[in-house]
Each structure stands twice: as C-alpha cells, then as structure tokens.
Symmetry: C3
Subunit: 216 residues, 3 copies
C-alpha cells in the first residue's frame, strides 16, 4: 500500500503541471480566458477522471478537492492577464516538453498507485497508469484538432510512462521505500521522455522504410 499523503502530493502536482500544459497549448492557439480555463481543466482533470471511472472511485477527485478548481482558475487568470508571473519562473514557453513530461510522469504514477492500492495486478494497473498519464494530452490534442503525441511516430512517450511503471513495481518488490521508488520512477519517465525528444531517440519503425511502396 502506498500512503495517502504521497498519493495526494503526486495528484496535486500532476493537476498543477497538467493545467499549465493546457494553458500553454491554449496560448499557442490564442484562446481567450474561458478557452484557456476549459483546456486547463480538461488536461488537468481528464486523466484523473478517467482513472476514477476505471477504478470506480467516487466522489471524483475534483469533487473531493474543490480547491483544485479555484487554484486552476487563479492560475489561468494570472496566465492570461499577467503572463509575467509565469515568465519569472523560467522560460516556460520554451519548456513545454519538460512540463508535458512531468505531467505525464505524475499522472502515470498517480494512476498506477491508485490501481495497485485497489488490488489490481501489475499489468492492468500499469495500463491504467499509462492511460491516466496520456489521457490529458490526448484529450488536449483531440479538441484542438491535432494528432495526439502518443500516436505520432518518434519520441518515447507511452514507453517512458510504461518503463516508469516497471521501475515503481521493481522498487516495490525490492522493498525500497515508496517515496524513493516513486521519485526514481518519476526521474525515469521524465528522463526517458526528454532524452528521446532532445536526442531524437525513437523506436525502430519499419513503416518508414517502405514509404515508397505504400505511397504508390
């Protein structure tokens, strides 16, 4: 069993980071404050809501933690009308890959831990983790009419999330304290994702080589 405290921290960080990822996509698309807030909510709450549906957890985490809604709303207002707040915290606009990777990692781990705590065996639990992790990004990209990252070739994304699930599970089997295990998994997911983005690491993809054949 993973402690409720660890889980709450994971979830809160995931919500904040994913809300930020939604806001940045909204800024890219020139959305107004409502579009920005809606997209932030969709990305921040989408994955966790699917997790809660899959695990039959009620009330939904955003009913239980009403404060998330307030915080995301305040973040959105600051983001749209006072973007300097966010620029202080670093060149965030240039760092959307890091933000996305952190959101992926945090929600994947929150989904995996919630599933394991519900007594689900490892493989389906990892699937629920990966779904929780990628769902926010998939929803975000679908509503702005882009093909979600997970379906674009190149760049480890779901693989990174799945690898992190494996690491968390291995740490548990080795009786490594859960906080340390979770941290290692987080670093593995973010690290794999960023390495693949910046060094162009991709899975071998035979479909590319026979392009000529198929384009006829």
């Amino acid at each position: 069993m993973y402690s409720q405290t660890l889980f709450s921290y994971l979830e809160a960080s995931a919500v904040l980071v994913c809300a930020l990822s939604g806001m940045m996509k909204a800024a890219e698309k020139r959305m107004d404050i409502v579009g920005t807030f809606s997209l932030a909510i969709l990305v921040a709450f989408g994955g966790g809501t699917i997790r809660d549906l899959l695990l039959n957890r009620r009330p939904f985490f955003w009913v239980e933690h009403e404060q998330y809604l307030f915080i995301v709303m305040i973040m959105c207002i600051a983001f749209v009308y006072r973007p300097s707040f966010f620029k202080v915290a670093g060149l965030l606009f240039r760092r959307s890959n890091t933000i996305d990777a952190a959101g992926l990692a945090l929600f994947t781990l929150s989904g995996l831990i919630a599933a394991l705590n519900s007594g689900i065996p490892f493989l389906p639990a990892a699937l629920i983790g990966v779904i929780t992790g990628v769902a926010g990004g998939v929803l975000r990209d679908v509503v702005v009419n882009e093909i979600p990252v997970i379906f674009r070739p190149g760049g480890l994304y779901a693989v990174a999330a799945f690898a992190g699930c494996g690491v968390l599970f291995a740490c548990r089997e080795l009786n490594i304290p859960t906080v340390i295990g979770t941290s290692i998994s987080f670093i593995v997911i973010v690290g794999l994702r960023l390495l693949s983005v910046y060094f162009g690491i991709a899975l071998p993809n035979p479909h590319w080589s026979d392009e000529k054949l198929n384009n006829k």
Copy 2:
C-alpha cells in the same frame, strides 16, 4: 431539492433542442439519415450521459426514458426527408445560435440541479452543470473535425453557462421558487450567449495583441 417534475421537463426539452442542434450540423455536413441520427443522439444524449457517469446515476436517463430514442428517430426522419416540417416552425436554419444557446442552457441547468440534488456543493456542481451543458457541443464538433465552440475565442459560452449556474444558486439562497429561479437562469444563459454572438461581446484576450511576437 428541486422537484423531479421540473427536472424531467428540463431534461426532455434539452434532449429535443440538442437533437435539433445535431441534425442541423449534420445537414451542414451533408450527412445521410444514419449520420444525422447518430449525431443527433450524440449531441442529445452525450452531455446527459457524462452527467450520469459523473454523478453515478443509473440507469442512464435514456434507458429510463426509452421514448427519447423514438422521438429523436422520428424527428430525424422528418428532418432529413420532410424538411418542410421544420421550416414551418421558423427559419430554423438561420437560428442555429438560438438553438445551441437553448440546448446549452437546458443541459447546464439539468446538470446543475441533478448535482445539487445529489448533495454536491455549489462550485463542483456548477462545474458538472457546465460540463453537461457544453459536452454535447464539444462531442458534436470533435467528431466532425472542428474545434469546439468553447475553445474558440470570442463569444461568451461557458461563461454564460456558469453565470446561469450562479443565478440559480442565488435564487435558491433567496428562497425564490425553483420554477422562477430556473426560468431566470435559463433567460440569463440564452441572453448572455446571444448578446455576445450578435454584439460581438468577448472576454478581453491579451493573446491577440501580441500576435506579431508569437508569429515570428
């Protein structure tokens, strides 16, 4: 507590109005009767199904009220093969904004009332209301490959729905009879939406002003 009768009327009107909104989008896209029916069903039942999932209400409202299915089916047949029926009722094709606004208002209020009746506090209840209200339109636009209205800048949409939720809540706190409170909220949502569409009222959107900076 809001009475079941009021809720049933709200829901039935919402289903009919949203079905019509789906049919009009289907006509715009030249869909055949099945596409039209599927889109009408998706718009008419999508928001309410998400509401029932979020509130864990079973059976789904369209299992409980089988007649909705029949009515929407007959409406679709008439709409596709006897469009004159609909033209009699006014220049509906030119009034899609009004139809959409009414559907938004009706489903938002049905979601809000269902949530409040389940004992959910106001802010998450309003979120469930707004989600119920906008979900049909989001699903409709996503499946026909358009960016949903809620994410397009300009025109109060989710804001109108949220304002209506606030009005309903204020009316309840002031002990105004529920039928009157619901009617006022309905008028507020539809009015705000139509005012914003016809007079170009939009939220201030700083992203538009720095377009040059971002387009480099």
Copy 3:
C-alpha cells in the same frame, strides 16, 4: 439468457479483429510500435470499455482478461516487425473493409447480449450494442483526425449493426438456439456492410440533391 461461453468467444474475437483494424489504420498513418499498440488497444478495448461503463460492469473486461493485453502486444510486435506473418493470412491490407465489418458485428453482438443479459429492454439494448460496435471505430478515426465512418454519407454501417440486433432479437423470440441466432446476426451485419461498400448501396440522402442551394 445467453451463455457466458458464447459471450466470451464473441468478445475475444471482437478484441482480436478490432486490434487488427487499429493496427492497419496505424500502418496507413506510419505509426511506430507504440502508436500502433496504443491505437490497437484503443480500438480493441474502447467499445467494450464504454459498454462496461454503460452497463456498470466491473471489473472491466480487460482487467478480468489480462491475457488480451499480452496477445494484442504480441500481435502488434509481429505486425510491425514481421508483417509477413500477417500477409500469409491473406491480403489483409486489401481487406480492411472485411476486418472492420467483422469487428463491428462482433462488438455489436457482444454489447447487445451483455445488455440483454442485464435485463435492459430491446431498444436501449440495441442502442448499447450499436454504440459498443461503432465506438472503437469512432475513437480510432477521431484520434487520427478523420471523420468517423458512421458520420460519412454512403455505406450502411450503423444500420447494418442495428439490423443485426433486430435479427438476434427475432431469433430469440422465435426460440432459435442462441448460437445459430448469433451466427445469423453476424452474417447479416457483415453481409449488409460489405454489400453496401462493394455495390455502393446507400440510404437516400436528400442533402446531396440540394447541394447547389446550400453552397451558394
């Protein structure tokens, strides 16, 4: 009541056939192994997950049948890295209509039978069947940014699924053994779909005739 064995066979075939349909779409879009696996999982598990949500069945069928995940994973690896395995089984790439039609039929029947076994009356049960049948394809097309087949004019698709539901129901009322009734329904759905694709059978669509009027 339909037997659990029949249902399990239907479901397992539906999963395999739909996974294949997802893989073929992924190959068309040049996805790598992860995109292929994700799309295969989305198509293979999407419809059934929505069915389980609608019917409130827990655990989800893919938690109960962990082996599906392994099998789809192995199929994907073979499909991407050893496509010759699949070519042996026939000119699969040219047969995507047959694969899609079989997946539609199998999931529709699995949804219908699960709904009838839950005591839901015929018409909503048929709706759940058709939703289960078409959901995988809708999700598949939405995430790759295409308009789902069900909304494209021409070609019986949802109609075929619905007709199959009617046939199954008629067979039950006539006390025809369930295995035979299910087989007939399967043949009706696949047959209707393929006939409509290859012979261009479509529902009459008045929207096409007044194209000039609307395009002004």
